[in-house]
């Protein structure tokens, strides 16, 4: 019904305040309310150093975002940068990881919000609340970027005010432990491990770059908003960590489900718990809003370049938003949230965002070399040291991730490769490739069926299970054999 009209574009409606709030809201998620406890056991009170260290690591890459965002202010963020610098599969992979990471992040935040609500109202159904939350923010995102920006600004200002109350009272309360002393029981390695663990609290600020096609005066606003976001995050997180260790010892945080709520209870009582719970709910809310917006803009950019279906590139006639990209992405987000695979989506989110960081820094270096005359309203200081440090620190963070994260990352990469291949190759070449793979699977299944019947005891002790496995392997083998022959002969029969 709604058709893409010629000349229709995303509207530039976000000013500096809205863009900065988009970045802060994307980064401050429910994670900060739960990760401090374990991080404190790793680094002790030196967690404050880890917080500043993470902020500086984040700043290295965010400066690259600022330069590229100001120079190439069209929708898509990292994908657009990689497209301009490398193109081909490299740019598609960047966009692919960015798209799925934002969808997973939205699902994670929606489920986090629903869990926090369930502490307040125990009778509620977590998946249903998560889906309702996603539906509300999908509607806001369809309505318009201005509405999305205003919603985000209000949410983040309230969130910062609540955290400000926690920090202000915590700094001056007389219920503190006494003199604050810096200690690192795990030494330098402990501080580094804590840094890798808590780095997730800085992720999400790059939402500014994703929405760059809708930011007014992008040459000035994008760098300012990104740098402001980074500095505010460092300040807020460091002050929170300082207040925490002023009130309680690092050891007492171990095993606390919500360390911030526990600390708030020590000096503000039940009111403190309420403030932190509401802040957590708002943080999760604003993360859902930002990530639904971000995934839709990436899908929009991928559709613009032919990687995703063209319908994702359609703008709503009245609201000028990529409503199909918003709605389809939100359906995926709701499906992820409803299945409750929170661990999976957390792993995938971390991996995708860190891969995005590496690609952005590589894109900056490539563009500086290949397009020196490109107009850059903002330039990364200390080039090439800054982007190289961004790449090195991101690689180190991947090294410290859980092994399961890397496996899931590899799976997502293979899916991306498959989709790219399908979109890029011609139909007949695709059929030939599928035919070859089908014949390979057929041969493997036939061998498996033979092994089951020749040495049944090594696979299963039950004769019924042996027969079932044999029948299944034979079915797969025969099906794939016929499919392979049909695939391979499609060209000659088609002509």
């Amino acid at each position: 019904m709604e058709k893409q009209m010629s000349g229709q574009r995303l509207k530039r409606e976000l000013g500096l305040l809205h863009a900065t709030m988009m970045g802060i809201g994307g980064a401050i998620c429910a994670g900060v309310f739960v990760t401090l406890g374990y991080a404190a056991t790793l680094a002790g009170t030196a967690l404050i150093i880890a917080m500043v260290f993470c902020g500086i690591i984040n700043l290295f890459t965010m400066l690259s975002y600022a330069e590229l965002g100001a120079a190439l202010p069209s929708a898509g963020g990292e994908y657009t940068f990689a497209k301009a610098s490398f193109g081909g599969f490299f740019s598609f992979a960047t966009g692919w990881f960015e798209w799925i990471s934002n969808m997973f992040y939205a699902a994670f935040s929606a489920v986090g919000f629903a869990y926090l609500m369930s502490y307040v109202i125990p009778a509620i159904n977590v998946p249903i609340i998560a889906i309702i939350t996603i539906a509300i923010f999908a509607a806001i995102n369809v309505k318009g970027m201005k509405e999305t920006g205003i919603t985000q600004t209000v949410l983040v200002l309230v969130l910062l005010a609540l955290l400000g109350v926690f920090i202000a009272i915590g700094l001056f309360t007389n219920r503190a432990l006494g003199t604050f002393e810096l200690s690192a029981p795990g030494g330098f390695l402990g501080v580094f491990r804590a840094s890798a663990f808590i780095f997730v609290v800085y992720l999400g600020g790059e939402a500014i770059a994703v929405a760059q096609a809708e930011i007014k005066d992008p040459g000035k606003t994008i760098p300012k908003a990104i740098i402001l976001t980074c500095l505010i995050l460092i300040l807020v997180y460091t002050l929170i960590a300082y207040v925490v260790f002023r009130i309680v010892s690092p050891e007492s945080l171990s095993g606390q489900a919500s360390p911030l709520a526990y600390v708030a209870k020590q000096f503000m009582g039940e009111i403190g718990v309420g403030i932190i719970t509401v802040a957590g709910i708002i943080a999760a809310f604003s993360s859902v809003n930002t990530s639904i917006m971000a995934q839709s803009r990436v899908a929009y950019a991928l559709a613009r370049d032919g990687y995703f279906p063209k319908s994702f590139f359609n703008l709503h006639r009245r609201y000028f938003t990529p409503y199909i990209a918003v709605l389809v992405g939100s359906i995926f987000v709701a499906a992820f949230a409803a299945t409750g695979v929170v661990n999976f989506v957390t792993y995938a989110t971390d991996f995708g965002f860190i891969i995005g960081f590496i690609f952005v820094n590589l894109s900056l270096i490539k563009l500086r070399r290949d397009k020196p005359s490109l107009i850059r309203p903002f330039k990364v200081p200390l080039y090439p040291l800054t982007p190289i440090l961004g790449i090195v620190t991101s690689l180190l963070l991947i090294f410290f991730l859980e092994p399961g994260t890397l496996v899931i990352g590899a799976e997502l990469f293979l899916f991306g490769l498959l989709i790219y291949y399908i979109r890029m190759v011609g139909y007949h070449r695709l059929c030939l490739a599928m035919g070859g793979m089908n014949l390979g699977v057929s041969a493997f299944s036939a061998l498996f069926a033979y092994l089951i019947m020749s040495t049944p005891s090594t696979i299963t002790s039950s004769s019924g299970t042996t027969f079932l496995l044999f029948a299944l392997a034979s079915l797969v083998s025969v099906t794939c054999l016929i499919a392979g022959v049909l695939n391979i002969t499609v060209h000659s029969s088609g002509d």
Binding site: T339, V341, F344, P403, G404, V407, I408, A410, E411, L414, F415, L418, I422, Y427, L430, C431, M434, M437, N438, V441, L475, V476, T479, C480, I482, A483, L486, N487, V490, S493, G494
Partner: protein
């Protein structure tokens, strides 16, 4: 001759799609359910690899099935 080929392609494609959907569902069950992993004697360390292989096979099977069902004349 062509109609027989189309019929077989759609039939085999449909079977492949069903096999892919069943494998993907099974992969999710192995991932999500501890009791299923225990009953199949799958160690937690191996579960990621098993799920990975099942998902790859499931996706391939669905894709191959769809290519056959939508075979161009």
């Amino acid at each position: 001759m062509s109609s027989i080929r189309t019929f077989i392609a759609r039939l085999v494609g449909g079977v492949q799609c069903l096999l892919g959907a069943a494998t993907s569902t099974f992969a999710y069950l192995v991932y999500a359910s501890q009791s299923i992993r225990e009953s199949l004697s799958i160690a937690n360390e191996e579960s990621f690899l098993i799920v990975f292989l099942l998902v790859i096979f499931g996706a391939f099977s669905i894709l191959s099935g769809m290519v056959l069902i939508r075979e161009e004349d």
